[in-house]
């Protein structure tokens, strides 16, 4: 199934074993292409909405500026004009060994070449489960701090999942390894974002080799729910360093109850990502992620 085609058509061109044999073009289903405000103040986004439409949406900019920033940093303008939010959430990993046709876990084989080869860019620094490629999507990382959910149309009816449930990392689904849980007979139809809560501070930053096009070496989406100057609840989500958008729940717990202000990062940066397990060439991803945490907390404390 494809709409924007910026992932699956490339897999077909590359002749990957795991590329689909048949395509169903859904991009003309206009009922799945919308950005709609709900009566409760939340927003619903159809799965076929283009990333460019999200990046240019006044409604999203007003309610979720961090999300708009993150979407605007995905790839390049040309690709954002073609790519859909559904495709971004469910995209295949961009490991150079997979895309280069190596017989890896995701391409009919039983071995991860990224774990033993050049893993400086596209691979996890937080361990793996057979496949060590990172989940490359920015949208999921940026949606988690808003507690967004998605809807799937399935043969058994509509299913609602959180973003963490949608993209839990390497999963065995229908005899395949993939980053998400969507089965071949299911369609992602909608993203639902709850109404923004007063006192919510958010930030998104992304480090990549070039200013456009590239995937994240590391990224960080954060939200701090403030009550006065006290942090009532935090969401800290790293992208580009693991097989899924990685919530740093230890840091989230440590942030709760603290007072925002200078020095907030303090001990938190050194305590973040304690379970890091970098591969031979990607330890810098952890340092990048910690740097993003320090700068993000400083920005949200200002």
């Amino acid at each position: 199934m494809y709409a924007g085609g910026t992932d699956v058509l490339i897999r077909l061109k590359n002749g990957l074993t795991q590329a689909p044999s048949y395509l169903v073009d859904i991009k003309k289903i206009d009922n799945l292409r919308y950005i709609r405000e709900e009566a409760d103040g939340g927003v619903r986004i159809g799965a076929l909405t283009k990333l460019a439409e999200m990046a240019e949406s006044d409604l999203l900019a007003k309610k979720y500026p961090m999300l708009v920033k993150a979407i605007g940093m995905i790839s390049s303008p040309e690709l954002r004009n073609a790519s859909t939010i559904g495709g971004d959430l469910l995209q295949e990993v961009w490991c150079q060994y997979l895309r280069g046709g190596y017989s890896c876990w995701r391409n009919g084989g039983y071995l991860c070449y990224g774990a033993i080869g050049d893993n400086s860019y596209y691979h996890s620094a937080m361990g793996g489960r057979l496949c060590y490629a990172v989940y490359p999507g920015d949208a999921a990382t940026a949606l988690i701090p808003f507690d967004a959910t998605v809807k799937l149309a399935t043969p058994a009816g509509v299913k609602t999942l959180t973003l963490e449930q949608l993209v839990p990392g390497d999963m065995m689904v229908d005899g395949r390894i993939q980053s998400h849980v969507v089965r071949s007979n299911e369609i992602l139809t909608e993203v639902v974002i709850p109404a923004p809560v007063p006192g919510l501070r958010t930030s998104f930053e992304k480090l990549r080799p070039r200013g456009v096009w590239d995937f994240a070496m590391a990224s960080l989406a954060m939200s701090l729910q403030m009550q006065g100057n006290t942090i009532a609840r935090a969401r800290v989500v790293f992208g580009g360093i693991a097989g899924k958008p990685l919530r740093e729940t230890t840091v989230e717990g440590l942030l709760a109850g603290r007072t925002a202000g200078a020095g907030l990062a303090g001990d938190l940066v050194s305590r973040a990502l304690a379970n890091a397990a970098p591969l031979k060439y990607n330890a810098m991803k952890i340092e990048m992620a910690k740097g993003l945490l320090a700068s993000g907390l400083a920005a949200l404390s200002a």
Partner: protein, 127 residues
């Protein structure tokens, strides 16, 4: 590979290091494999004769047996014995070199081994 009933291995480099220290991921992996009904069969050397003998004594089909090894000798012996050689990728550079021998698979850590077994079954079931 359609399914894995047993895993042949030389403990050194797989369960314990050269000094005999057991790897931290060994015990949980072995326990999980036991629940999957997979036999773990230790051999004293990865020679063709020893592997062939181990398969014969286990009364298992060689096509459903893998040999976990981190060495070139192990890979070659497993192939000659008719079992599936699976590379334990302890050293990345050496492992990448050994992929030229076309192992049937590879894992980075023992904790992946139960998933390896499950995935072979799942892929086989999915056709």
């Amino acid at each position: 590979m359609k399914a894995v009933d047993a895993i042949l291995f030389d403990p050194v480099g797989i369960l314990v290091d050269e000094q005999g220290e057991i790897y931290g991921d060994a015990a949980p992996a072995l326990a999980e494999l036991e629940t999957l009904g997979v036999k773990m069969i230790a051999v004293t050397s990865l020679s063709v004769a020893e592997l062939t003998k181990a398969v014969a004594e286990s009364a298992l089909s060689a096509d459903r047996v893998i040999c976990l090894t981190h060495t070139e000798q192990g890979l070659r012996a497993a192939k000659a014995a008719g079992v599936h050689p699976v590379l334990m990728m302890n050293d990345p550079d050496e492992a990448m070199r050994l992929t030229s021998l076309n192992p049937a698979g590879g894992i980075v850590s023992l904790h992946e081994l139960p998933d390896f077994v499950r995935f072979i079954a799942a892929r086989s079931a999915a056709g």
